[in-house]
Symmetry: C2
Subunit: 383 residues, 2 copies
Amino acid sequence: MNNFDFRNPTELIFGKGQIAMLSKRIEKGKKILMTYGGGSIFKNGVYDQVKKALDGYDVIEFGGIEANPDYDTLVKAIAICRENKVDMILAVGGGSVVDGTKFIAAGVNFNGDPWDFLIGKAPVCKAIPFASVLTLPATASEMNNGAVISRRATKEKYAFHNPDGFPVFSILDPTVVFSLPKRQISNGIVDIYAHTFEQYLTTSIHTKVMDRWAEGLLQTLVELAPELLKDDRSYDACADYMLTATMGLNGFIAMGVDEDWSTHMIGHELTALHGLDHGVTLAIVFPGVMSVMRKEKRCKLLQYGERVWGIKEGSEDERIESAIRKTDDFFRSVGMKTRLSEHGIGQETIDVIVNRFRERKWNLGEGGIVTPDKVEQILKERL
Amino acid sequence: MNNFDFRNPTELIFGKGQIAMLSKRIEKGKKILMTYGGGSIFKNGVYDQVKKALDGYDVIEFGGIEANPDYDTLVKAIAICRENKVDMILAVGGGSVVDGTKFIAAGVNFNGDPWDFLIGKAPVCKAIPFASVLTLPATASEMNNGAVISRRATKEKYAFHNPDGFPVFSILDPTVVFSLPKRQISNGIVDIYAHTFEQYLTTSIHTKVMDRWAEGLLQTLVELAPELLKDDRSYDACADYMLTATMGLNGFIAMGVDEDWSTHMIGHELTALHGLDHGVTLAIVFPGVMSVMRKEKRCKLLQYGERVWGIKEGSEDERIESAIRKTDDFFRSVGMKTRLSEHGIGQETIDVIVNRFRERKWNLGEGGIVTPDKVEQILKERL
């Protein structure tokens, strides 16, 4: 097991009707900036519940935070916080709204251009307090200290982590999952599966207990998927789905392990070049990483196949092949097209992506084992 | 899934050599009370490592905290903190030292008799900051806000929880496990198994993901046990053991589930009356709870048998019987005698315990389903 340092102070307030707890968690008299996105909260009743819970508070609303939250939008919110001496920010939305809010919260006290956080020119500033009411399970941003921010004007997109930038609390009411469109559910399932995989499917067994927990999340997703894709989802399925999403990227399965993240890095390029949904890119790339890196990840692939898919028969090579096929089949079963050609993407795109990684001299994956040559093999395997 | 509220702000600093991090986590110039127990830290090198890391700090030592920490000892430490205006307390030891330190930390600012916390006469006072260097994995006190305090003078023993009483940080160096005597390892394995069981083996399936995580801890313990009972334990086994202990009772597997705890309550009586080790009592009582409560816990017993022990053949009744036998066998395999008669305990003790529960009108277990009549059946089954 690797040495590690774990801390996650976010309070998770989970369950039906918990949005009403807002008034118990935020001190009376506080000035609040309420951030949200494109307006889904007006349709699913969350806006009304939040406003009711915050009756009597001084609330400034800031809507319109985009999917892939944009720097130019967020700096406007920073200015509003400063002008109005906002005490805390309440993000009401999905991962993008929470990510954007993390940037706003860190920017308020920073004397300079907060873009510098993202490009490593300045250490991230201590954030003003912020919290969230989550409406879309997937990213676990509601219980971690990371965020991804885009800048459309310069076509840039970067992640940052803020050591003290965890939400003070996050309210997760699983009934928000009832009304999510199937496309968001499919994307979410693959995204959570991939988050877990990136922290699990590495070159060695670091810790038995974290492996079991990661496998537990994968097994749960496999079990939940058919229920979640029905028109009429049960509360318990929605609750387990929401909890699994949060546990997938809040650090709880990352103790003492190496992490890969090459699938995400390659997937980001596919999104940048072709506008594919994030989840779609992961469903394409992951089986390729499994296939091309099978020698390095052999031990974990065999364990994964046996424990998540019950694969015990055949030679080691056959079992690995079977584990990859099962994973691909699973992604397809939730509605994903898992081949580049199915999205009209061919060799030209592969060349562009591989050249980018070569130019940046980026070796991906745990210990840099996913070299640009490997990226090329991975993408070719997915044509 | 039940609604729940989860929060655990403790920083976990885990791994070989991490005791040296003390000087990075504690501000220079702070006055520290260092608490410890009977002196095992002088033998395993932990005392020297802590003192080296705290070179240059103003440290007052307070040793002699007993297994089952005693009120009369702890109030002396509270007085020392007040007299010396101690800024923080550093517990160096096992669960008893950490538990005792929680009581001291909460007592310092309390204007009255802190025993009142334990008997519910006063709300627990905000604790002064405290942290721990753990030397014995088992109780997870290093990452939760609960403690059990005894008062030998009045033969009383109570638990308390302090909402804001989590350790600021806990340092877990798995090399401390190398030198633990087998008896402590056996007790620890059963204790951690039982902690997990109490949060898992209940009357219904509340959440798939928490079930998977609880099963993951149980599977890990079953896998680790033979390695841990060897004279020469591997670092990775010690590390997984230590991490499993912490994850077993830090709230991470308790989200949205009912909890039982009847085995612990019955076990405490056996310790009080016959001085049996805590782990020994759990190994005796748990198979009895499984057997007598098999109707109520049917669904979970079948799931447990299949997932932890691979029991898939036979009728439901046979599979449950087999799951109970496997559990009993496992406890015996780590060196436990699992029958009352093997400890020279007979019907008289059962009568005393059952009468105590009847007098107190205590119904144990989730939803009070373990009535005094059931306790009687459970203990008779374990003769």
